[in-house]
């Protein structure tokens, strides 16, 4: 079992409030990502779950047991750190053995020299060796077992750190940005490996990242945190397509979502930049913000389509996609439009007409709440 629930967690460092009344239920076996910009409190939250940090108020409940006053090592969780945090003076094998020895050996058995004479130790040593071997086979690091962390590449260290977490067969894995020290290609590769690992282990994963791509690709559910608050907890596609507030919409998705000032008429129809939305909204406000993802805008040559004019100021060619940064007016900020390379390149300084490719767009109050 690996259900974890957090109830009204508050945490502050001095006068800075890091977490504000945060509640979260994590189901058994799910891959939950805590995602948010740096400084939003996600790592602190993970440390509170781990027991490395004490919350000011609120409860942490693991498998229906309140663990507020349980030591980190007794919570039966394992953690993978951003810097891997392997013991630099020990071989990979010893690194993997350490948590098991500390858990299984008695005080006397742990003593150097004397420990060897305790008869029960031999049996325990055997089971530890078996576990270490099994884990190293799963992670394909068997041939690295006798090397020290300093002799490993970033990816190998990452595996060793995963191994150290896995040997304990914990109720849940806590991961604090484990991929952010790897190079881009390896990171993408490790994403799929982690997902596979999650599928085969079927253990709860709690994964902290600031990289929304990792959150979107790996998680069963993602929790978007900004400024110490949990803004939305949902499946990745739901968070992307149906954000609950403008802050979530702006954080999730790269390039960033475009926002436009919009007017709402009394009958609920919405107009922005000369484009009228098909759908009518039920709201009392007169002003609102329309948010459109770059892929829902298009550069059009069809003069019948409702559109607005803009000048291309910069283009980002990613191969599969081209993002055009366009300037609508001198005064307004830039918006980003996705174009396909097949349509041919448009050079900087050219004036283009931009329209909605889907007639749908999200509407937000000026304060940021979603209008549905």
């Amino acid at each position: 079992m690996g259900t974890i629930s957090l109830k009204n967690i508050n945490k502050s460092f001095g006068s800075t409030e890091v977490l504000k009344q945060l509640s979260l239920d994590i189901q058994d076996g799910e891959f939950l990502t805590l995602v948010g910009p740096s400084g939003c409190g996600k790592s602190t939250l993970l440390k509170i779950i781990a027991g490395l940090e004490q919350q000011n108020s609120g409860d942490v409940i693991i498998d229906d047991k309140n663990v507020n006053s349980t030591r980190a090592s007794k919570r039966d969780l394992a953690m993978v750190f951003q810097s891997y945090a392997l013991y630099p003076h020990l071989t990979v094998r010893k690194n993997l053995e350490t948590p098991l020895k500390l858990r299984d050996y008695s005080f006397v058995e742990r003593l150097p020299l004397v420990g060897n004479f305790v008869p029960s130790r031999k049996e325990k040593k055997k089971s530890i060796d078996d576990l270490v071997f099994k884990t190293s086979e799963t992670l394909k690091i068997t041939e690295l077992l006798d090397r020290k962390p300093g002799q490993l590449s970033g990816g190998q260290r990452q595996r060793a750190a995963l191994g150290r977490a896995m040997v304990r067969e914990p109720v849940a894995f806590l991961m604090d940005e484990p991929l952010s020290n790897l190079d881009a290609a390896l990171r993408v590769h490790m994403r799929s490996e982690l997902s596979e690992l999650h599928n085969s282990l079927k253990t709860t994963f709690i994964y902290v990242t600031h990289d929304q791509a990792e959150a979107l690709t790996m998680s069963t559910r993602m929790a978007v945190m900004i400024d110490g608050e949990l803004l939305q907890l949902d499946t990745p596609s739901e968070v992307y397509n149906n954000p609950s507030s403008l802050r979530v919409a702006e954080f999730v998705g790269s390039p960033k979502i475009n926002t436009f000032a919009a007017q709402i008429s009394s009958d609920g129809s919405v107009e922005f930049m000369g484009i009228k939305l098909e759908r009518k909204f039920n709201t009392n406000s007169q002003k609102a913000l329309v948010a459109v993802r770059p892929e829902h805008l298009e550069i059009t040559k069809d003069s019948n389509k409702p559109a607005f004019e803009a000048t291309v100021s910069y283009r980002e060619n990613l191969g599969s996609d081209i993002f055009y940064h366009v300037q609508v007016d001198q005064s307004e900020s830039k918006i980003i439009v996705r174009g396909s390379p097949q349509a041919g390149l448009i050079s900087n300084g050219e004036t283009v007409r931009i329209s909605l490719s889907h007639a749908e767009a999200m509407l937000f109050e000026t304060s940021g709440e979603r209008i549905r």
Binding site: M79, L86, Y87, P88, H89, P99
Partner: protein, 297 residues
């Protein structure tokens, strides 16, 4: 352009060479005097090693040795007589016992202290650390007398304990290790806590192995300082020659009827300095690393 560059460079090198000579010449004289005869030393002749003529040494015969025993080459005589006159191996042994015990106890105390100061959060931590910094400013000589009185009241004068106890808490060591521990990532300690280690296990099983380079640097500072220390042993070792450390032992060669015989005296000094020089050559790289690491560059 190039010529000017070389002039600028040679100027610097010249200055450094002069500095090096000022340090090296006393060493050269020490080695040279330990090899030469008394006449050569006094007449400043004979270069580095002297003529090494076989001769009979009068001070030796005055000490009751036969003329036959006292006839040999000067270098041999100097070292032989130095060892005859004073129990130099005993002094070296004392030096070893004292410096090693001081260092081990210093580590035993400094590591947990600096770990707490660097990595644990508790009320008054900054105050405690500022007190550590404050203690760095207190010169030994200022507290020597009260320390001596305390040791005397405890009946510890003329014991190894008097040589060791006052140095066991090294604020410099605490400061140095604290600065080093600050650079150890918190994640490593968190990982150890997740694995189930207690705070003391973390200090000895994680922090100690990680801190070996810093500890070696500290070892060099500590051992050199206490091996060479003359002031403190002179105060607390009042009569018992069996407790003399090497610097106190050298003093034996000063004063008395044969006070002017420099050869054996220099030979004893060479013997006493050799362990440190050998240690330096062996650990030269570490030594430089240690000094640059502690920010004393």
């Amino acid at each position: 352009m190039l010529a000017r560059h070389y002039i600028g460079e040679s100027w610097k090198h010249g200055l450094l060479i002069i500095g090096a000579l000022i340090v090296l010449i006393p060493f050269y004289m020490m080695v040279s005097m330990s090899l030469k005869s008394q006449q050569e030393i006094q007449s400043i002749s004979g270069g580095l090693v002297g003529a090494q003529e076989i001769q009979t040494f009068p001070v030796c015969t005055k000490h009751g040795y036969t003329e036959e025993v006292c006839t040999m080459r000067p270098y041999k005589y100097n070292f032989w007589f130095a060892f005859k006159k004073a129990p130099i191996p005993r002094y070296l042994m004392n030096g070893l016992i004292v410096t090693v015990s001081i260092f081990l106890i210093q580590v035993l105390i400094a590591l947990p202290c600096s770990y707490a100061l660097a990595k644990l959060r508790f009320k008054g931590r900054e105050f405690v650390f500022s007190m550590v910094l404050f203690c760095l400013l207190i010169p030994v000589h200022a507290i020597a007398l009260p320390l001596y009185v305390m040791l005397a009241k405890a009946g510890l004068v003329d014991t190894y304990a008097a040589l060791i106890i006052p140095w066991t808490i090294s604020v410099f060591g605490i400061f140095l290790m604290r600065q080093f521990f600050m650079t150890v990532p918190d994640e490593l300690i968190d990982a150890a806590r997740m694995d189930g280690m207690g705070e003391y296990s973390i200090v000895w099983k994680v922090m100690l192995p990680v801190a070996i380079p810093a500890l070696l640097a500290f070892a060099i500072f500590s051992v050199v300082a206490h091996w060479n220390d003359y002031f403190w042993p002179r105060i607390v070792i009042t009569g018992n020659r069996d407790l003399f450390t090497p610097p106190l032992g050298i003093r034996e060669f000063r004063g008395g009827i044969d006070s002017d015989e420099f050869g054996p005296m220099m030979a004893s000094i060479v013997t006493v300095t050799i362990p440190l020089i050998v240690a330096f050559i062996v650990a030269q790289k570490r030594f430089v690393e240690g000094i640059t690491m502690t920010g004393m560059k």
